[in-house]
Every structure is written in structure tokens, then in C-alpha cells.
């Protein structure tokens, strides 16, 4: 496409200039040579009515593109400006009284715990679903089934939060008691289990449901790009369907899977409502089935509406930390995807 429009302009120059010259017979000298003089430049550099439109239109598109860069830069800039007072404030002014970094690190750890739980649950299921849609489901059903999974992504996060707190937490709390009794020797399942089920593990499960469609749709696309010849070669050598997938689809898709999981991680890190509604927050604990822990995003959502003064700056600084973490994760993921695109030839 890019070459198409590019390559075409010289083509017009070549074609139209000789034709125009031919129509002006050499015997008759034009009365106004400057007006009639037909050159390639006069044709391409004409100042017709449409010329202004061209200029305005291309300038508008360029401005829109630059605006996006400005906005992203602005996101970083405004967050830094509003966060600075909290970063430089004396330690006793920050919530907790021990400075910003003492305040933020339990939140960072809590965010990571919730995201890791979500990914541990979601990744195998998402890869299974993607394989089902790309290689197992009947061809006519595949796109419909993919749409059903995409519906998971359409449900608003606050509804997931409401579902998590009203349905999942209640249903799952008996199994937390079981875990506390039978696996309590593991620090992560240390009892006593929360009676309400509003724990970081429940929040992680809700997050897993929310990142599942993202990982699924990306890995599905990658699996569908596996060269057909590789697959058919494996089958022709007598491989079963699973052996074919293990020999051709998974090795081909590995970078794609990694980046899809990282994009899912980016979503899980920044997801707010599910955690804010589900988790009954508290101090950092290792146990996943007790109340406690908190994530950055939920901390902001719960406290920002009533915050004032330095507290606002503290929360914006927390948002900045979250922004930097997710930006790093996303950039690595996109980097892997674009590198993969180049060497695989798949597009």
C-alpha cells in the first residue's frame, strides 16, 4: 500500500507530460509562453483549488498523529508534576508516616501477587482455549466459539467485581477452609481462612477470568499463522494431532505466547474494580486465603474520591509507579511481537 501511492505519482508525471506537450504544436508559439509552458513540475506543482485541500487534510492527519504522542507524553508529564510533592515531602506527611517508598512497596508486592495468581490460572486455560478454537473445533463452529470467548472481554470490570463479591467469594470460601485445614503447612495457605472469601486468591481468580480473553485472542491469532506446510508435514509423517501441535504449532507460537501472557500481565496489573470490590484489604501477608494485601490500582480507586491535599499527590505518585511498571511490561511484550513478525514472515 505504502509503495502503491508512492510509486504512482511518478507514473502520472511520465504519462501526462508528453501528452500535454504533443497537444501544443511546435509551429505555433503560444501567446503567453509562461502560461502554456508545460513541464513535469508545472503539472505536479499546480496551485488548483484542490491543492489547499490536500495540504489541509494531510496537515490535519499529521496533527492528529502528533497529538497522540503529545497525549502520551502528557500522561507521563502531568503524572510526574502532580506526583512530585509526594515524592519530595517529608516522611511523616505521607500516609503511614514513614515516607513514600515504605507506603508503596507493599502495594507493589500485592499487585504482583494478584497478577501472578491470575496468570498462573489463566495461561494454561487460555492456551487450551486458543488451541481448541484454532485446531480442534469444527471449522464452521470455530469463529462463533471465538466470539463467545470474546464476550468475556465485553463484560465491564465492575460487573466482574460485583459477581466476584456476591457469587464467587461466597461459593469458594468453603474450599478455603479445606485448604487451610489440609494444606495449612504451606505459608500461602496458612489459616485461619477468611470467612467471607474476600481474599487475594478470589481477586486473582476474578482477574484470571478478565485476562483470559486477551491471552486467548492473541495466542489464537498466532496459532492460526503456523505455516500449513509444517503442520501437514508433521501429519504426513504419522504424527497424531497432539504431536503435530507440539512439533509445529507450539514452537512457532512460543514468542507469541510469551508476549500474549505479558500483555495479559499488563492488564492484570492495572485492573482496578475487580480487586477494589472483591478484596477485603489489609496489611501485606503471605497467606492467600486470609484477608489482607492490597493492589496499587484498588488503593487509588478506594481512596482517591475522598482524598485531599498531599494524599492526592501520594495516590497520583502511586499511579505513576503503576504506569511505569505496566509501560515496561507492555513495551517488552510489543518488542517481542514485532521482532517475531520480522523473522517469521508471518503477518
Amino acid at each position: 500500500m505504502e509503495q502503491g501511492t508512492d510509486a504512482f505519482v511518478p507514473y502520472i508525471k511520465i504519462c501526462r507530460a508528453p501528452a500535454a506537450e504533443a497537444s501544443a504544436p511546435g509551429a505555433r508559439i503560444p501567446s503567453k509562453p509562461k502560461d502554456r509552458e508545460v513541464t513535469t513540475t508545472s503539472l505536479t506543482k499546480s496551485r488548483g483549488a484542490g491543492h489547499a485541500g490536500d495540504k489541509v487534510f494531510s496537515a490535519a492527519t499529521l496533527a492528529a498523529g502528533c497529538l497522540i504522542l503529545v497525549v502520551l507524553f502528557g500522561v507521563a508529564l502531568f503524572l510526574v508534576i502532580q506526583a512530585l510533592p509526594a515524592l519530595v515531602a517529608p516522611a511523616d506527611k505521607i500516609q503511614g508516616g514513614e515516607g513514600f517508598f515504605t507506603y508503596i512497596w507493599p502495594l507493589v508486592i500485592g499487585t504482583l501477587i494478584a497478577s501472578v495468581i491470575a496468570l498462573v490460572i489463566a495461561t494454561p486455560i487460555a492456551i487450551g482455549v486458543a488451541l481448541f478454537i484454532s485446531h480442534f473445533a469444527p471449522r464452521q463452529l470455530a469463529s462463533g466459539l471465538g466470539y463467545v470467548i470474546d464476550l468475556l472481554a465485553a463484560i465491564p470490570s465492575v460487573v466482574y467485581g460485583a459477581w466476584g463479591v456476591a457469587f464467587l467469594a461466597k461459593e469458594i470460601s468453603p474450599s478455603y477452609n479445606w485448604l487451610a485445614e489440609n494444606m495449612g503447612w504451606l505459608p500461602i495457605f496458612q489459616g485461619p481462612a477468611s470467612a467471607t472469601g474476600k481474599t487475594i486468591l478470589t481477586a486473582g481468580i476474578v482477574l484470571a477470568v478478565m485476562v483470559l480473553p486477551i491471552i486467548t485472542s492473541l495466542t489464537r491469532e498466532i496459532f492460526l499463522q503456523t505455516p500449513k506446510l509444517h503442520e501437514e508435514a508433521a501429519l504426513a509423517l504419522g504424527a497424531t494431532r497432539w504431536e503435530m501441535i507440539r512439533m509445529t504449532v507450539l514452537p512457532f507460537g512460543r514468542p507469541g505466547i510469551i508476549s500474549a501472557v505479558m500483555l495479559g500481565l499488563g492488564r492484570a496489573l492495572g485492573e482496578t474494580m475487580a480487586v477494589a470490590l472483591v478484596l477485603s484489604s489489609g496489611a501485606l501477608t503471605a497467606s492467600l486465603i486470609q484477608t489482607g494485601n492490597q493492589t496499587i490500582a484498588a488503593e487509588i480507586a478506594l481512596n482517591f474520591p475522598e482524598a485531599s491535599g498531599i494524599k492526592v499527590n501520594t495516590l497520583i505518585a502511586a499511579g505513576l509507579v503503576l504506569f511505569v511498571i505496566t509501560l515496561g511490561v507492555n513495551m517488552i511484550a510489543r518488542g517481542i511481537i514485532s521482532r517475531h513478525k520480522e523473522f517469521s514472515g508471518a503477518n
Binding site: 505504502e2 501511492t5 502520472i12 484542490g50 485541500g53 490536500d54 487534510f57 492527519t61 499529521l62 496533527a63 492528529a64 498523529g65 502528533c66 497529538l67 497522540i68 504522542l69 500522561v75 502531568f78 487460555a126 487450551g128 480442534f136 473445533a137 466459539l145 463467545v148 470467548i149 464476550l151 468475556l152 465485553a154 463484560i155 465491564p156 465492575v158 460487573v159 467485581g161 460485583a162 459477581w163 456476591a166 477470568v209 497424531t240 494431532r241 497432539w242 504431536e243 501441535i245 492488564r267 492495572g270 485492573e271 477494589a276 470490590l277 490500582a297 480507586a301 482517591f304 474520591p305 492526592v312 495516590l315 497520583i316 499511579g319 503503576l322 504506569f323 505496566t326 507492555n330 510489543r334
Partner: protein, 369 residues
């Protein structure tokens, strides 16, 4: 006479060592019966029956295959069972969420006045009366519905021109320049911005420019635009890219200017995909809670001016009704309102998704065949 040809039916060498075609069905039937029997011993429930039967089915089929067909085929069967199982597991939360919202939301939604009244003046005392004396449930979501619609419309008005023009720049003018590559990269990065950070950005920007504590619908619309623009750019870009180059060249050959070619040839060809992409982008941001929470606050009264005052929206309405019930001692009326609002929100999102598919079909360019 010695019988040299005894008509013994032997299975063909090609199909020997294979499970019969009906094997999965036989195993399924056995697994369902066994599962029901096991669950009857420990207390029957449908969910447990499904889980136990599925495990029995997988174990039975893989075991049978291992005996008859060997390890390789058995492994293949196991992988198939796991993959199908993963799909079924993924469907569980979807149905569970939709079922929960329907069951809990219908009573709220069918309440008279739910869609046409606001929460103005509805206090905990009214809710206590509803629970204790059976008085009708007061309060509704009109203010939140209006807020959601206004904020989303304003966000769409900001995002669509910017997003669409950027997509046009990338496809028609970018020509793989460094700027175009940078825009593509940062649009990708923008899709990964956490929604709450987008909200904080808008809040921080307005705090810095207008004044501390500025919370209006317009700030929320800016926050939503930050989330919406990258989605619009990506989908429009994909759609513009698949417009056949021959159409552009035909227009150029007729001497049509580039901008008129784009407006009259390229955009009409791609409009179905662009429109459905925009609809999907709206569906994505209409349910966003966190950015609205930090930018527009939450109100209980009707506010139709996006440029002044706090504004309610459906997601923040759900959130506050669950987290801070109107009457702390009797949270049931609040949760009923919250579920009603959740049902309305899901219906809106599903309609937008459906609308996107319809738009794509209706406005699809006629292919002549």
C-alpha cells in the same frame, strides 16, 4: 475336503488396534452414570456431577486408548480432553456472570421508576422502610444513565476524529517514516495503559490547568478518550489497510486529488469496518469504572452539564451502591439497585457489540457478485 477358506471375519489391518467409533459416547454414558452414583453417596449437586463425570470420562477414554491403541494415541486423547476441558472451564464464568446478573438484576430493573428516577433525596431511612415495612423501593438510575451517555458521547466526539485522522496518516501518508513508526509503537503502548492511570492523567492535567479538585463529566470524557483513541486507531488502521490499492490508483488516474480520493473512495469502502470498530471502542469504554471514579466523582442527582459539577455514571453507581450501601444496616435495596444497573450496563454493552456486527454487515461494500 479340507477347508482352506474359512470365512472368519477379521478386522482390517488398517483399522486394527483402534477404538470403535462410538467409544467416546460409551465412555461418556458410563462416566455420567458413575458420576451420578458417586455424587449420590456424598450429596448430589449438578456442578459436582459435571466435574466428576468429566474427570471420569477423560480417565476412562485415555485408559481404554492406552490399552488398545498404545501410548501415543492415548497421549493425543489426553491432550484433546484437556483442550476441550479448558474451553468448557472458560465458558463457566461467562455463564455464571450472565446468570448472576440476570437473576439479581431483573427484580431491580422491573421496579417501576427504576429507569426514570434518580437517587436524589433517597436516604437510608427509605431503604430501611422498604426492608422492614415492605414499602416500595425508591430510587433509580436515571441520573447514572444520563451521565454515562453524556460522558461516552463526549469521549466519542473527542476520540473518533483524532483516532480516524491518525489512522489515515499512518496508512495514507506515513510511508514507514520514523514518525509513523513511533506513532504505531506508542499507540500499542497506549492500549496497555491501565484505565485508572488514564483517569489519574486526566485528573492531574485538569488539576494543573483548571484548578485542584476539578471533577466534571468533561474530565471523565478526556480520561475515556485516552483509552478509546488507541482502539479506534488500531481498528481503523486495519480497515484502511485492506482497501484495495487498485481503487486508489483508479481515482488518481482520473486526476482526483489525494484528499478527495481518501474521503470519497477509501473511507466509503472501509466505512463498515471503521464504524464497527468505533462501536466496539464505545462498548469498551462505556463500562469503565476506575477512570470515571477519579475524574467525575459520583453524584446522586441529575446533572446534565458535563462542564460543571460531579456526575454519576452506571459503573460508578454500581460500585458505590455495593461498597457504600445507601442504608448501611440494610444493604439489600442497594444491592438490588446495583444489580439492576449492572443488567442495564451489560445490555448496553451487548447491544453495542451486536450493533457493531450489524453495522459491519449492513455497510459492507457491495462486491458485485
Amino acid at each position: 475336503m479340507t477347508s482352506t477358506l474359512t470365512p472368519v471375519r477379521k478386522r482390517s489391518a488398517l483399522t486394527r488396534g483402534q477404538l470403535p467409533k462410538a467409544a467416546p459416547y460409551i465412555v461418556l454414558a458410563v462416566a455420567l452414570i458413575l458420576g451420578a452414583a458417586i455424587l449420590a453417596l456424598i450429596g448430589f449437586n449438578a456442578f459436582g456431577w459435571g466435574v466428576v463425570s468429566a474427570i471420569l470420562f477423560a480417565a476412562g477414554l485415555v485408559g481404554w486408548s492406552l490399552v488398545v491403541e498404545g501410548a501415543r494415541k492415548a497421549k493425543d486423547k489426553l491432550a484433546t480432553c484437556l483442550v476441550v476441558g479448558a474451553f468448557l472451564v472458560a465458558l463457566l464464568p461467562l455463564f455464571s456472570v450472565i446468570w448472576t446478573v440476570l437473576i439479581n438484576g431483573l427484580p431491580g430493573l422491573l421496579d417501576p421508576g427504576f429507569l426514570t428516577t434518580s437517587m436524589n433525596g433517597v436516604t437510608g431511612a427509605f431503604d430501611n422502610k422498604t426492608v422492614e415495612e415492605g414499602a416500595p423501593l425508591l430510587g433509580g438510575i436515571y441520573h447514572a444513565l444520563m451521565g454515562t451517555l453524556l460522558i461516552t458521547v463526549l469521549a466519542t466526539l473527542i476520540s473518533v476524529p483524532v483516532g480516524l485522522l491518525t489512522a489515515i496518516y499512518l496508512v495514507e501518508y506515513g510511508e514507514d517514516r520514523a514518525l509513523a513508526r513511533a506513532i504505531t509503537f506508542f499507540v500499542d503502548v497506549m492500549t496497555g495503559i491501565p484505565s485508572i492511570v488514564a483517569g489519574l492523567f486526566a485528573a492531574a492535567a485538569f488539576f494543573a490547568v483548571v484548578g485542584p479538585g476539578t471533577k466534571t463529566g468533561a474530565v471523565a470524557a478526556v480520561a475515556l478518550s485516552v483509552l478509546m483513541i488507541p482502539v479506534v486507531v488500531r481498528s481503523s488502521e486495519e480497515m484502511l489497510k485492506i482497501v484495495p490499492n487498485e481503487l486508489r490508483e483508479a481515482a488518481y488516474a482520473l486526476g482526483v486529488r489525494k484528499w478527495r480520493t481518501i474521503l470519497k473512495v477509501v473511507l466509503p469502502t472501509a466505512i463498515s469496518g471503521i464504524a464497527s470498530g468505533i462501536t466496539l471502542a464505545i462498548a469498551r469504554v462505556i463500562g469503565e469504572t476506575a477512570p470515571i471514579l477519579v475524574t467525575a466523582g459520583f453524584a446522586t442527582t441529575i446533572n446534565t452539564n458535563v462542564f460543571s459539577g460531579w456526575m454519576a455514571s452506571l459503573p460508578t453507581f454500581i460500585y458505590t451502591q455495593i461498597l457504600n450501601p445507601t442504608s448501611p444496616s440494610n444493604p439489600d435495596p442497594s444491592s438490588q439497585r446495583a444489580w439492576g444497573a449492572a443488567l442495564v450496563l451489560i445490555i448496553l454493552v451487548m447491544l453495542l457489540n451486536l450493533g457493531a456486527r450489524l453495522i459491519a454487515r449492513i455497510f459492507a461494500p457491495k462486491t458485485g457478485r
